[in-house]
Symmetry: D3
């Protein structure tokens, strides 16, 4: 984890290239992402934090960076992030501690 | 999924029996659950819904029932549940559709 | 696994109910499913068998039934199913043996 | 979980049928299982309990039954089972509590 | 992901070292890999692409590199790879988008 | 994997920072870890090796390093590690081969 912002940029470039090849599939995925992004009972920032908790649960570091960055842009606080990560620890044990700790470090670095 | 309430009761009885044998470990787990249950930036009901989303992601039906039931008791609305499940679909694809659909059916039945 | 066809019907009904509540998200998911269904380098039946292998890998029984049924309707042979399941065993060990065996039984029963 | 022994028998029959269709793959898998079964630094019973912990981690109920049954036949004690399940809880959180509780109930019932 | 070929070589060396220590188990695994490699209803290249889809689903980067490399050596086209990755996205959502995008980048770089 | 000891130190620092923010949750987690660490039917070193097998199954490299390091400190032999990894291969196939091979390399390097 040398440079979180750089790694996020690289992930987005890879997804951009994949989207050119898998256009229709990725249009469907973008439609899901757009629907999820609409605020409702949860704010948009809270929804991104749920996505972070799920990313931690899956151990997907590119996903953690992507959704952390979105959450931060939408105004998510560190306190709210930590709460979402704590639920991930309840549901994931040790691996969630490890990836959750990575998520907190990334949130502070981004 | 004949009787959701019955299945939840059976799950709780099994966990009760396990807790007698694995006392110290389960005391630690209970401490995590208690910490997570405290309202903060997310309400207690919202945290249970995040736990439902994580349960859907893991495909753990006992977990879905347990956290759905807690969410409902804390006043979670169906609209908020659906939003949490939609994030799970974004992060989990087809299996999240299947377990999310089970979660919605259970929420209505419980 | 008393009645595979009945369980598949129940799963589809649950997904139908979820789709009413999570309309935009499920429209995006349907767009992905439609894009994936188009034959290309893999036939449509082969793609459904890849989805079965992934379902076995996730241990999602509703998914196994759903994609097995679609594969069968598209003319997938048992021999092709077994090959896809063998790749799942290579990549998943014991759990893939167990869910793969369930998939074969379901294919014969559906 | 009405009848654990019956469910185990059904799982073994399904695996038997799959093994006929996927002969060479399953011969390779059987060779792995045989190699793992040899006692070494861990006894054969202890190795089966590690397999139970991994089955709990994967949420694979057929696997839990299969390896629990083997562990019991090899003389594994309930105390040793509980210890293996506690490690699974450390590494898996809530879902491991749920599947671990199922494993303990099955051990007592088998 | 600085140098894909270098990382693949390192992975193969690690597996080689493990195979010396875990000889019988790895002979069983090699037998599975050999059985899976035989062309049938799916070509050998197609089977490697299914293995790539499963690797993406598991988020295992060493596996992605290993099976991508084998697929490429067997003549798999980029179009076929993308189709397999699209099924992975259908069955895995966001994390599959991220690992699938890594797989496409690796395929082009190898 | 340039420097295993350095990567382990970084992981522990991240967990330390997370523990400051998620105090009560991490106290509960520490209580679980303490309960699991007590020798019983399995020695403390054996329990750490079970945790390594579970870490391999989850594909969590920070977890692998953490529990490998603890196992080594408690006197675990390479032979016992390999046996635990072989069970992980039985229950996890190719990804377990890859992460197990990483675990063996790390054990030798630490």
């Amino acid at each position: 984890m040398t440079d979180h912002a750089e790694r996020l940029t690289a992930a987005k470039q890879r997804v951009g290239a994949f989207s050119k090849s898998a256009g229709k599939t990725m249009q469907g995925f973008a439609a899901i992402a757009k629907a999820v992004a609409e605020p409702g009972e949860f704010s948009a920032a809270q929804k991104e934090l749920i996505a972070v908790a799920l990313s931690v649960s899956k151990g997907c570091e590119d996903c953690i960076l992507y959704h952390l960055s979105a959450a931060k842009r939408l105004g998510a606080t560190e306190a709210a992030l930590v709460e979402a990560l704590e639920v991930a620890v309840e549901m994931g044990g040790g691996p969630a501690v490890m990836y959750g700790s990575r998520a907190l470090a990334a949130f502070r670095a981004l």
